[in-house]
């Protein structure tokens, strides 16, 4: 029933089959699938990533199939962000996270995409008061990534307050909130059995192979996870809560390791030591298998989920899950926001990043579940245990940064990371080409202006060269307006001039290309004097008798004046300078082109 296929080493698995269609009965429809460790079911809301777009699109899966060519396809019914239909909004007020469901007849309400374009799950809650819609709780609404209650008719380009009976042939009840609310969270199904848990482990494998591709996996992660593991084992043996000791471990590993002792404790208090041990044994095995140990965090957290899910009482877990999943999803949304704003994660990164987010979520589940169970069990370590998850919660929701950093480090895509150790990873020639897309709030950087001056002055096209060369980094907050940033940058001496930029780069691009912490501007020079404007105070009356009445500050001089002759001299000089500069430019361009020809790549 389950067949596994590997696409670009991203783990993939079909779920439940639905039916067979197509002219030759060669199209297999599915109801669910597992992609990159995340389980997707029909009518889930997903982020769809598109190359070159900063913000991922959001849509609902309404059809999933594999065609005769073995291509995996999904049909997606779109949500619109208000900015996408800005024109048709008119006076309609929209909230910040409101979406509009596509409806009506016409182009664009839904279309078919490659399944691989899915970037992750999205928590979209329907806030419609419609009686067909199972009403979401306040909490759910609050924690949702996005809400929708209106639709956008793509045929008439109008906003509708009502949700139609059917949209592109799909009944409304599928599009509204689900009765069991499962689609609203990016959390695995509640009735997850052991088999699926083992699937999870497979998913980890997928992640691992994915991560292995990245050259600059942080050594930091390696060491910290090793430490963590030791500590976990120790705790399991002694059955003591030494979360205080945990505090001394590295800050990045801290939260995760915090979760672990509590989990272990909980397990032991349940009296399932053997099961726990087996779980741990599994972990050890996993660890040993791993060549790139920095994956530990992902894999282990997944294992944890596996063990905890199988052991913790299902009902209890359910209860906890329902309470918490929206919150978790929200957190993941928070995390997700960042990369999309930064606009430089490609889909590969995104995928593995999502994985990490998921694992963090799962950890949180564990911790919460632990907190709940310990209440029931009057364990002596209860106060500490119940406190722990809270800390974790806070840590996770308030500062998602370290994790993100970790993820990025591991991915090696973030320029900061590659900047830090660009040379140490010398053994791998496998480099990452970074795609640059525009950031939404394009701060004004004057790198291009700098070239403008040269260009305008010389009126010769700048040379063409697509490489950006070395620049230094400036640590600064990007919220500060650029004038201030420039000022501080000048004071700190961190101003950098980017030379040899392609003239078609704009300041926004320079900003977006990941050097958002680096200033690319120079201080404008104030011209003090212009040669060639002569002033003879006493003479004015005699010289320009005919100009006396002229008030204008500008004029064309007439050919029969001395002024005209002088102007001609200036024109001559100007022409000569232009020639000289042009000549120089040509020569330089030739030199550069010659050198470029020797480049091996591109």
């Amino acid at each position: 029933m389950v067949e596994a296929t590997k696409v670009e080493s991203i783990e993939f698995k079909w779920g439940k089959k639905r039916g067979i269609g197509g002219k030759k009965k060669d199209v297999q429809f599915y109801e669910s699938f597992c992609y990159d460790g995340v389980e997707y079911t029909l009518y889930d809301s997903v982020y769809m990533y598109k190359e070159g777009e900063t913000e991922p699109y959001i849509g609902k899966l309404i059809k999933i199939w594999e065609n005769a060519e073995k291509e995996k396809k999904v049909k997606v019914l779109w949500f619109f962000r208000p900015c996408e239909i800005f024109n048709y909004l008119g006076d309609e007020k929209t909230t910040e996270n409101e979406l509009f469901l596509a409806s009506g007849d016409g182009v664009g309400n839904a279309n078919v995409n490659d399944l691989e374009a899915i970037a992750g799950k999205c928590n979209v809650v329907c806030s419609s008061k419609d009686n067909r819609n199972p009403q979401p709780t306040d909490k759910e609404l609050q924690e949702a990534d996005f809400v929708f209650c209106r639709t956008f008719d793509v045929g008439n380009c109008r906003i509708l307050d009502k949700i139609d009976e059917k949209i592109v042939g799909i009944e409304a009840k599928f599009l509204l909130n689900r009765v069991d609310n499962q689609n609203t969270s990016g959390v695995p199904k509640l009735d997850m059995n052991k088999k699926e848990v083992s699937e999870n482990v497979v998913a980890t494998d997928g992640t691992r192979s994915l991560a292995r591709k990245e050259p600059s996996l942080g050594e930091k992660a390696t060491s910290s996870s090793d430490v963590k593991f030791d500590e976990v084992t120790k705790i399991n043996d002694r059955q003591v809560d030494n979360s205080g000791e945990m505090a001394s471990s590295s800050s990045k590993a801290k939260r995760i390791s915090d979760v672990k002792p509590s989990l272990v404790n909980q397990e032991s208090s349940l009296g399932e030591n053997s099961a726990c041990n087996s779980g741990l044994g599994e972990r050890t095995k996993d660890d040993k298998k791993e060549t790139m140990p920095s994956d530990n965090i992902t894999s282990r957290s997944k294992d944890d989920v596996g063990s905890s899910e199988s052991k913790v009482d299902k009902v209890l877990f359910n209860q906890v899950l329902i309470e918490e999943k929206v919150k978790v999803a929200k957190d993941s949304g928070d995390l997700d926001d960042r990369p999309s704003k930064k606009a430089k994660l490609d889909d590969l990164t995104k995928a593995s990043y999502d994985n990490k987010v998921k694992s963090v979520q799962k950890l949180r589940h564990d911790s919460k579940a632990v907190a709940q169970t310990t209440h029931a069990f009057e364990d002596k370590s209860k106060p500490k245990l119940t406190k722990d998850p809270h800390e974790i919660n806070n840590g996770l929701s308030k500062e998602p940064k370290p994790d993100e950093k970790l993820a990025r480090l591991a991915n090696g895509m973030f320029p900061e990371a590659s900047l830090r150790q660009p040379l140490k990873e010398g053994s791998k020639t496998n480099y990452q080409i970074q795609e640059v897309t525009r950031r939404p709030e394009a701060l004004k950087v004057l790198a291009s202006a700098c070239f403008v001056v040269l260009d305008a002055k010389l009126l010769v096209k700048m040379r063409f060269n697509t490489y950006i060369f070395v620049i230094d980094m400036l640590t600064g907050q990007k919220q500060v307006p650029w004038e201030e940033r420039m000022q501080t940058a000048l004071e700190q001496g961190t101003v950098v001039l980017l030379q040899n930029l392609d003239p078609s780069y704009t300041s926004a691009v320079v900003e977006a290309s990941g050097w958002q912490y680096c200033c690319c501007f120079l201080f404008p020079k104030k011209a003090v004097n212009l040669f060639g404007h002569l002033v003879i105070n006493k003479l004015r009356i005699h010289m320009q008798r005919e100009m006396k009445e002229a008030v204008s500050t500008s004029h064309c001089s007439q050919p029969n004046t001395l002024e005209y002759d002088m102007a001609m001299e200036w024109c001559l000089l100007q022409e000569r300078s232009d020639q000289a500069l042009r000549k120089l430019r040509q020569q330089q361009e030739q030199e550069l082109r010659k050198l470029r020809a020797t480049l091996k790549s591109k």
Binding site: P524, M566, M568, S577
Partner: protein, 215 residues
């Protein structure tokens, strides 16, 4: 892997006037067409001066100075002047190329050119333009070459700066020469005026039996 979806979004928004990147870019290109670059401006020139100066040719929509970031201080200022229509801009360029046009000072004329896209620092990104960058590590086969390139670019910048300095020197020389000329001319006129006003000219005319200058 081909990722194609939502091509229609563009279609949809082009029907209205939503500022899509394409529309943005088209609007920008139009703006470029009706803009002229004015070079060789005196630092005393302000936006209002430019507005009145070019108000003679048509309606000025916007004036934007281009700051000078290069190391040389006495480089003339330049500004981008946006006119109402491309025709007006063209007319100004041809007019100023034919006749020396002076703003806030003589005799050095200003220069006018049709603006180019690269001159705007706030220009939008060209649609479909993809820019890639990456770090090269020392073992990369291109490392040596790119390093050379880096040095070459630096050399070029130095060359350019040198030439600019030289040209500025030339300009200064010409300015001095013209100042001399002007002073000489002034002296000449001054002398003639004096000669006429103090009666020397009349005396001399009488002496040489010439008709009086005043006749």
């Amino acid at each position: 892997m081909a990722r194609k979806f939502r091509d229609w979004v563009e279609v949809l928004s082009n029907m209205g006037s939503t500022p899509t990147p394409e529309a943005d870019y088209a609007a920008f290109q139009k703006k470029v067409k009706r803009t002229i670059l004015i070079d060789n401006l005196s630092p005393q020139v302000t936006a209002s001066v430019l507005r009145t100066a070019f108000g003679q040719f048509g309606t000025v929509k916007n004036v934007q100075f281009i700051p000078n970031y290069t190391g040389l201080e006495n480089i003339p200022c330049c500004a981008l002047v946006e006119m109402e229509s491309p025709r007006q801009a063209e007319a100004i360029v041809s007019e100023i190329t034919q006749f020396p046009f002076m703003i806030s000072g003589t005799p050095r004329p200003v220069r006018a050119f049709a603006a180019e896209e690269e001159m705007f620092d706030d220009r939008p990104i060209k649609r479909g333009r993809r820019i890639q960058c990456r770090w090269l590590d020392p073992k990369d086969p291109d490392f040596e070459c790119t390093n050379k390139m880096k040095r070459l670019v630096r050399k070029h910048a130095a060359e350019e700066l040198f030439l600019l300095k030289h040209l500025l020197g030339e300009e200064e020389k010409l300015a001095k020469q013209q100042a001399e000329e002007l002073k000489a001319n002034y002296k000449k006129y001054d002398m003639i005026d004096n000669v006429i006003s103090d009666g020397t000219a009349q005396g001399l005319a009488r002496c040489y039996h010439m008709r009086n200058l005043d006749d």
